[in-house]
Structure formats: C-alpha cells, structure tokens
Symmetry: C2
Subunit: 145 residues, 2 copies
C-alpha cells in the first residue's frame, strides 16, 4: 500500500505494489486517464470518501504516478495528470480488466476497441523476448545474491 512505509525487498512485484497496490489508487489512475483530472470529478465518479481520495492522490503524487498542476489561482485548485510512470501502469489495468471480464463479467461491461481497426482489444501479458503468453512456458526464479 502506498501509505505504508516502503521497505526495499527483493521482489519486483512487491516493489510495484508498494507504489500502487490498492483498488482506489488503481481506479484513480483509470479515471485520470479518462480525463477526470480534478478532485470533484474523481470524488463523484468513484463515490469515495473525501479523506481517502485526498490521501490516495497525495500518495500517488509522492510515488511519482501523478503530478499536480494548478489550474486556478483563486481559489487555488489543482488537477492531477499522469506521469510516464502512471501512464506505464495503464496496460496493467487493461490486463486486470481482461481478467475481471473473464472471471467476474456477468452483465453489461464497457470495452476497448482499437480505434483504427474497430476490433475489440484483447489484453494479454506476454514475454517480449519470445512473444509467448506468460504462463505458457516454464519460468525459473533467480534470487539476487
């Protein structure tokens, strides 16, 4: 969780989750990507308690996934934009969405299409080296010395 003290373990999964490992943080990233960059927009979209939203925004900003930009001086108002690190997390949300569609997908769901071809996007995690879906070939875990 982003509001826990970070400990530098050797597992990259934990390293990632330390920065953004809770549902609200991920849903905030999703909404910011959809253009809901302001506090009130996020609060309304997510139905989240104000103090939790403020804490998550501060944590995501401190963790380098969002950056604040002041869009009004009086009254002082900030909006939140994705950094490169925040944008790089979006494909993971797409993969979570594909999983959610498969295992908790009853009823009507939104979906993404490739804007050029119109085809429904099917996110899958592959090894960029072999192109094979992760899980389709045996892996070996190497621990650091």
């Amino acid at each position: 969780m982003t509001d826990e003290k970070e400990m530098l373990g050797t597992c990259p999964v934990d390293r990632g989750l330390t920065r953004v490992g809770d549902r609200w943080s991920m849903l905030i990233l999703r909404d910011v990507e959809y253009g809901l960059t302001r506090y009130e927009q996020l609060r309304t979209s997510l139905g989240i308690a104000p103090n939790i939203l403020a804490r998550r925004l501060a944590a995501l900003t401190a963790a380098g996934l969002l950056e604040k930009r002041r869009y009004s001086q009086r009254p002082p108002r900030d909006e939140y934009l994705l950094t490169d690190a925040g944008r790089d997390f979006l494909p993971i949300l797409m993969a979570i969405g594909a999983w959610g569609r498969k295992y908790n997908g009853a009823g009507a769901l939104s979906l993404h299409r490739d804007a050029t071809t119109g085809e429904i996007v099917r996110p899958v995690v592959v090894d960029a080296v072999t192109g094979a879906p992760i899980g389709s070939r045996p892996l070996r875990l190497d621990m650091p010395d």
Copy 2:
C-alpha cells in the same frame, strides 16, 4: 477490495479489482505460486498479521482464486491451491513486477528467466489481436447500452 460488498458496475477493471485489488491478496497469490501453500508458510513469508492473513485467504477462496485442500485431519489443517482464475492472475503480477522493476527498482531484485532459453523474461501487456503493446495504438472506450 475483496472484503467489500461487490457492486456490479460496468467497468471490467473494477470487476477485477473487486476480487483481488489489494497488496496482500496479490502477494498471497505470488507466494502460493512459489509453493508456500500453508498458513504458517504464508504468515512467515509475508510478515502479515494473522487476522489479516485469515481474512485475505477466506476472501480469495470465496472469490474463486484459491481453493482449500485439507492436508491433515488431526489436527485439521488446510493448504491453499491456485484455481484456474488464480493462476490466470499470475501474468498480471508479472506485469506489475516489470513496472516495479522499472520505477521502484533500486538495489538487488529477483528475476524470472525463461527456463528453456535462460533469457530474462520481459513481461509486457499486448493486444492479442494486433500484437501491439497496449498504449502504442489509440483505443476507443465503448460503454454498454
């Protein structure tokens, strides 16, 4: 979060996160994959409070990502195994690991190699239809009617 009441919204990302959207749940899945299938093994590996571990295991089991198997009758002891849904979540953890390595990767980290080729695995989320990494082509969001 798995211990919140599930609401069936239209976003598949939220549908996924409702089942497994917190750091502990994801770390439990990671450890079970590594063969730490028993309560005591998980407690020791994660350094997690017993009541939180018990709650997460119950939630992951109720959500269909883990299944209990009794390995001792006296005393009664269960271990936890990944279901197909749980196993299908592992590639997402690999993608989170790749992100964590990139953005929170100081110091020594564990890594996965392809067991056959010995090459370091580079997880990336692609569209299975085009093969293009998610984020490299414009997408369109379709809301359900």
